[in-house]
Symmetry: C2
Subunit: 247 residues, 2 copies
Amino acid sequence: MLLGTGNVARHLYDAITKTNSFELIQVAGRSSTALEYFGKKTDTTYNFLDLEEADIYILALSDSAIGDVGNLLKNKDGLIVHTSGSTPLEVLPPEARRGVFYPLQTFTKEIAVDFRKVPLCLEAENEEDYKILEELAAQLSDLTYRVDSKKRQQLHIGAVYVNNFVNHLFHIGHSICKEQDLPFEILKPLIGETIRKIGEITPFEAQTGPARRQDQTTIDLHKKQIKNKARKEIYSVISNSIRSTYG
Amino acid sequence: MLLGTGNVARHLYDAITKTNSFELIQVAGRSSTALEYFGKKTDTTYNFLDLEEADIYILALSDSAIGDVGNLLKNKDGLIVHTSGSTPLEVLPPEARRGVFYPLQTFTKEIAVDFRKVPLCLEAENEEDYKILEELAAQLSDLTYRVDSKKRQQLHIGAVYVNNFVNHLFHIGHSICKEQDLPFEILKPLIGETIRKIGEITPFEAQTGPARRQDQTTIDLHKKQIKNKARKEIYSVISNSIRSTYG
């Protein structure tokens, strides 16, 4: 049973309906329009008070909705899991069998993802339930990790740095190119190499640039040449962090 | 003629000695140990006052050395170019034919680079000299761009964001994994997807995460969970920048 109709729900749905060992018996969501995506092959409902019985209930919901929807399920026999990185297992009702099934990936509606390469971070309160999650996970992905709530929260923060924040730095690079009437393509080989390097050496070893060299002259020159206030602040804060990492 | 023995000099050397149309007649550097890399196939010297005559002098030197070494060449007939992103053409002696030959890539000694995929940013004071640089560039790379000093300086700053700073964010992700006793591999598929997305959509469109959603609750939660001061500052500053980009 899948509850939710957002990006994570869609990608999970596509992955689960491809497996043979697990049958998805129902998808529940508040919007009948959003349910259309699932309705062709699976029973759907917008009534959270009249759900089918299932072995596993997957709550692929926004962080703020997990507690409330979880509460509606507190008398179910099945295992209840959420898919959130930053939400502890404990927001699920203590009366229920609880777990977490967190796919560590960025999902966009229009962009297909190879789910077999999505790391699945699993947590359950007892070994039997953990084994159930492990079986489901193995059907969907090659990458399964046991990660408790505390570790998962830190990992989710790590994901914000390497995905959300990295993407914003790409946006700054993109903006600079645009302002200078240069194609963003000119930075792509450098971006490719930045990634390729950390496949061979650690990011600590891969670091280059003025801050790494403690080259305050170039740092000052750059700061003078950056007019945008938010960019200048980012430049300062990350340069200081690099300097103190190697200082 | 190549002046300098660092990473850029090495990678340029390897690329130039592979071409047929251009002959590298000498490599000049201050350290005889560093010159050994070049000495097997090419004449080398550590005496900058006794250089061979050449059509092009490439100064692959640290930013601070370009002016002084350039001055030693001011009476040469050949075209004098430097390879620096942040240094204007004007630091080269005005008496000389001047240009810039800036490879926009990160070079590490141990890691081989496909030079044909390195964007070469060219500048010269007159059309004839530009054509000469263009010919040399075409022998080495498929990617040639005409970029004047002002644009190049901004581009170099862009490179700092998408390479140096992105790598530091990877380092933070790596450190968080280490602290939580999780392998860095767990973040690699997410990093791969972060890059893959900007091949299909702009970074502006690809942005996800709490700051993009203006989700202050998660942002505050994360800040509470980040103990490291430098990391917390980076988290705040980039989150603010994302929020105002979409606000």
